[in-house]
């Protein structure tokens, strides 16, 4: 026993080193492990909020129909009734936020239709497709079809209400 205690200096040093190392490890853990890590899994819980915080570009159909219920009535029963407004009118979350300041651009009455309806053999059979030259001699589609209800023809020439153009 006396022999062992004679060399206790070594044991004390070793013990202190071990304690110091453990302490350093614990402090490093507290500093380096990000907040919320491990709350749901091996990742930072705050990353979920980061992903959620992105702003919207597309307002969504419900937001459009809040104000433009007349259009959804006009579309009822047509083949186009199920299409989201922003499929043709593009992303309009800014317009939905501030309808006075941000005005949408009226889609071009031919190219917007041909995005879907131009003939292509890879398209499913039964989907209405046209060769624009043969079908309408390059006339705008809304000469004969109401875009919101394509089975109907416009009673009068398409109204030419001026729409502010914004880029």
């Amino acid at each position: 026993m006396k022999e062992l205690l004679k060399d206790k200096e070594h044991l004390v040093r070793m013990g202190l080193l071990f304690l110091g190392g453990t302490l350093a490890f614990m402090v490093a853990r507290i500093i380096f492990v990000p907040k919320g890590y491990g709350m749901y899994g091996q990742y930072r819980a705050g990353a979920l909020d980061d992903n959620r915080s992105r702003p919207l570009s597309f307002a969504g159909r419900a937001a459009c129909e809040d104000c433009h219920s007349d259009i959804s009535e006009a579309r009822a029963g047509s083949k186009h009734a199920g299409i989201g407004c922003e499929a043709c009118h593009r992303a309009l979350a800014k317009h939905a936020e501030d309808p006075e300041k941000v005005k949408p651009v009226r889609p071009d009455a031919q190219s917007v239709c041909l995005v879907c309806h131009e003939v292509n053999v890879a398209k499913p059979r039964g989907f209405p497709q046209v060769e624009p030259k043969e079908h309408a001699e390059e006339q705008p589609c809304n000469t004969c079809h109401l875009p919101h209800h394509p089975e109907k023809s416009p009673d009068e020439p398409a109204e030419e209400t001026p729409v502010e153009v914004q880029q």
Binding site: I30, A45, A47, V121, K123, P124
Partner: protein, 258 residues
């Protein structure tokens, strides 16, 4: 760091005794923020996607909308979702074996200029692609820093603050759904429009799909039409042999699609 000795001892004690995960959970429960927001409860949802190949017309609306909604670079090979055109000609007696040609000009961003002709003895069709939101995703398993993960509601997300751009996940994804954003040098991928679906909206691609070829589904909502979609159609996931637990279900998928 300002903390009393007592706080310090309690905290280190907790970290020593419990696993870090359990300690963090206790911290959050004590702080009263177990769910990140009261209006949206992650445990009530399990998101997936239903894609009907027979409805896809290759218009590219989804590709364009995705780039706008998620600020994806327009130029270059950067896509969170894209559309492929398959062209499959079949084996002639004694002739060439099944021949599959796939093209995706600019990911379908500008639609698909006609390239094939009617009656060439082949079939062609469009296949929209996006992150499959795997429930056992290979990409999250290889991330060395915990910067990509499966959220409790079934979306595979990226923590951009911790991604160091090592590209392991880009290589690990069997569907090629990840890319490195050249502006930040961090990885990016379809987040299933997490910022939209957690606000009660559908994804940007589903919002603008004119034929309903894609639809977002919540498997934990018993009234969601995705249950009928999966039950009433012959559905497949991509690369089922890899057991990724993909939650993107394709109806009418041809065997040639990989």
């Amino acid at each position: 760091m300002t903390s009393t000795r007592r706080e310090f001892l309690v905290r280190t004690g907790k970290y020593l005794l419990l696993t870090p995960a359990a300690a963090a959970a206790i911290d959050n429960i004590l702080a009263g923020n177990a769910a990140t927001a009261p209006a949206y409860d992650m445990s009530d949802h399990w998101w997936g996607m239903a894609i009907d190949i027979e409805k896809c017309i290759g218009c590219g609306n989804c590709v364009r909308a995705c780039k706008v909604e998620n600020d994806v670079p327009v130029e270059g090979p950067y896509f969170r979702t894209w559309v492929e055109r398959y062209h499959v000609s079949y084996q002639e007696p004694g002739g060439e074996a099944e021949r599959i040609t796939v093209d995706s000009p600019e990911g379908g961003y500008n639609g698909f200029p006609e390239k094939y002709r009617e009656g060439d003895g082949a079939k062609s069709f469009f296949v929209p692609k996006l992150c499959n939101q795997c429930s056992h995703s290979p990409c999250t398993q290889v991330c060395p820093v915990g910067a990509t993960f499966e959220s409790p509601d079934g979306a595979v997300l990226v923590d951009k603050a911790y991604c160091m751009g090592c590209r392991y996940c880009v290589q690990a994804c069997p569907y090629g759904c990840r890319f490195i954003d050249p502006r930040t040098e961090t990885v990016d991928k379809c987040s299933l429009c997490y910022h939209r679906i957690t606000r009660g909206l559908t994804t940007a691609c589903c919002e603008v799909c004119p034929t309903g070829a894609r639809s977002l589904g919540d498997f934990k909502n018993p009234k969601d039409p995705i249950h009928d979609f999966v039950r009433l159609n012959n559905v497949q996931v991509l690369k089922p042999q890899m057991a990724t637990g993909s939650k993107t279900y394709y109806s009418g998928l041809d065997g040639s699609v990989r």
